[in-house]
């Protein structure tokens, strides 16, 4: 064999969807997250794992544009021009968050409007996007409720009448209905019973694959990471200590902290 081709020659997409360079966020003297850099490609699912306090939620909030980091740059290539998400106007950033991005919060109450019907919660994202035809909006809302396994007959009920698992599925429908390119999820299965988690995980797995979504998922649950993600970043004390293909990191961890994490679970 003489012809050795660099892996880059096999790139399937011309450019990453998201380029993160040296993002840091401090709380006074304390490090939230420090010097995080990576590229995320279309259709790729990245997991961020670590214990509570490791900085993974801080990082997610910065990446999703909820908080502004103290240093660093995030470029999003969702449209014709790459967009530096911290230098655009607040208005532009909000528009981005409502259309090209989606955020699934750990607590569905943070992502849903509890006093608006299920159909209204899903339809609102479409109206944000500029859809105006009431019949079509309702029809799409109904379709999405069914995709997340909520009976169509519940369309006029309010989320507070739903169980925790249903609320979480409703939040996912609300986020995905606008067909985002990139979805951020913070502990999407946290606080749910194991059986409810399994159903939600399977649903997420299928949706992510079928829609070709790029996603960044923060979780402390390595089994969730194994099932949903392609790549992992392991964080400790605000820094990325190890990253790579998910099964490599979990099956052949190199860093002391990752070895500790993977040996602390019964079976992943």
């Amino acid at each position: 064999m003489t012809l050795h081709v660099a892996p880059a020659a096999l790139d399937l997409e011309p450019a990453p969807l998201l380029s993160v360079a040296n993002v840091s966020r401090f709380y006074g003297e304390r490090i939230g997250c420090a010097d995080v850099s990576f590229d995320l490609w279309p259709g790729e699912v990245l997991g961020i794992v670590g214990e509570s306090g490791s900085g993974k939620s801080t990082l997610l909030r910065c990446l999703a544009g909820i908080d502004k980091p103290d240093a660093g740059e995030v470029l999003f290539r969702g449209g014709s021009e790459p967009l530096d998400i911290y230098s655009v106007s607040e208005q532009e950033r909000r528009r981005l968050m409502r259309t090209a991005w989606g955020i699934v919060h750990q607590n569905p109450r943070d992502g849903l409007r509890m006093d608006v019907t299920a159909g209204g919660n899903v339809g609102e994202r479409l109206m944000d996007r500029g859809d105006r035809h009431y019949g079509e909006i309702r029809e799409r809302a109904l379709d999405w409720l069914q995709r997340v396994e909520i009976a169509g007959s519940r369309i006029d009920d309010r989320p507070r009448q739903f169980s925790g698992g249903m609320q979480q599925r409703l939040q996912i429908a609300r986020v995905l209905v606008s067909e985002p390119r990139l979805v951020f999820m913070d502990e999407p299965t946290g606080g749910l019973d194991v059986s409810v988690q399994a159903r939600l995980l399977d649903l997420l797995r299928v949706l992510v694959r079928d829609l070709g979504l790029a996603a960044i998922i923060v979780t402390h649950d390595l089994a969730v990471a194994r099932l949903l993600t392609d790549r992992l970043m392991v964080m400790k004390d605000g820094k990325v200590v190890e990253q790579g293909l998910t099964d490599q990191v979990l099956d052949d961890p190199h860093h002391a902290y990752t070895q500790l994490l993977t040996s602390a679970v019964l079976s992943v």
């Binding site: 064999m1 012809l3 050795h4 081709v5 892996p7 880059a8 020659a9 096999l10 790139d11 399937l12 490609w41 790729e44 399994a198 159903r199 995980l201 399977d202 797995r205 099932l227 392609d230 790549r231 790579g244 293909l245 099964d247 490599q248 099956d251 052949d252 190199h254 860093h255 002391a256 070895q259 500790l260 040996s263």
Partner: protein
């Protein structure tokens, strides 16, 4: 002949940071290649590192040093240095791994598990379903189980689901770890046939088989990895 795998100077040492930094050398200076249509059987005593080597070829374990070029889409690519999405693309299109165990995903039916690799490679749902059913039938998995998730199946049934999934559309390179461990004689023979058919169609096979009769029928060449043990 087309070289499908070229292993050069591969070494592997595990370092256990939380057990006093213990270092477990597995092997070094591993060099070999596998051609299309060959079935290379790894030999060596239990604990010699056969499974570790197979996992390294799959990009699952990372070698401490060395390169492993696999022929992917007509070109050699070093799976050790490749970025995650390239490794995933290699696995989807070129490199299959048949383990002893099925990783069960909640709520996914047997038929969907077997259809999945065909769909991922662009087959129509009708073709995928037809071929998946034929493969399950060939491995004597009762039809009443096809629409059930395999979580509650016996070990042998789960293993046959796993084999069906792997052989429904054989990869250009197939890494096989003990596929017949909990199968009866009839199903073992089916597996031997499936491997022979994949090889005849040009697949390069690297495998570990404890069952001597199976090993003899499958192997076109042996590689004793004891030779690579670190002194």
């Amino acid at each position: 002949m087309t070289t499908m795998i070229q292993v050069e100077n591969v070494a592997k040492t595990f370092t256990l940071h939380n057990q006093g930094g213990a270092r477990l050398p597995v092997f070094d200076n591993v060099n070999f290649h596998v051609e299309a249509g060959e079935a290379l059987v790894l030999a060596g005593a239990s604990g010699a590192g056969k499974s570790s080597l197979l996992r390294i070829l799959y990009g699952n374990y990372r070698p401490t040093s060395g390169t492993i070029h696999v022929t992917h889409a007509g070109r050699p690519v070093d799976i050790v240095a490749a970025v995650p999405r390239t490794v995933l693309d290699i696995r989807r299109r070129t490199l299959g791994f048949v383990s002893q165990f099925l990783r069960v995903i909640p709520r996914v039916s047997t038929l969907d598990i077997v259809r999945d690799p065909l769909l991922a490679r662009g087959a129509t749902p009708e073709t995928a379903t037809e071929r998946a059913k034929a493969m399950l039938a060939r491995l004597n998995l009762p039809e009443r189980l096809w629409n059930l998730a395999p979580a509650t199946f016996s070990g042998g049934e789960q293993q046959r689901v796993n084999i069906a999934r792997s052989f429904v559309d054989p990869s250009a390179i197939m890494l096989i770890d003990e596929p017949t461990a909990s199968l009866d004689a009839a199903n073992r023979d089916v597996v031997v046939e499936l491997i022979a058919e994949a090889r005849a169609a040009g697949s390069a096979i690297v495998g570990i088989f404890h069952d001597e009769a199976v090993r003899e029928k499958v192997a076109t060449r042996y590689l004793d990895i004891t030779a690579f043990r670190k002194a």
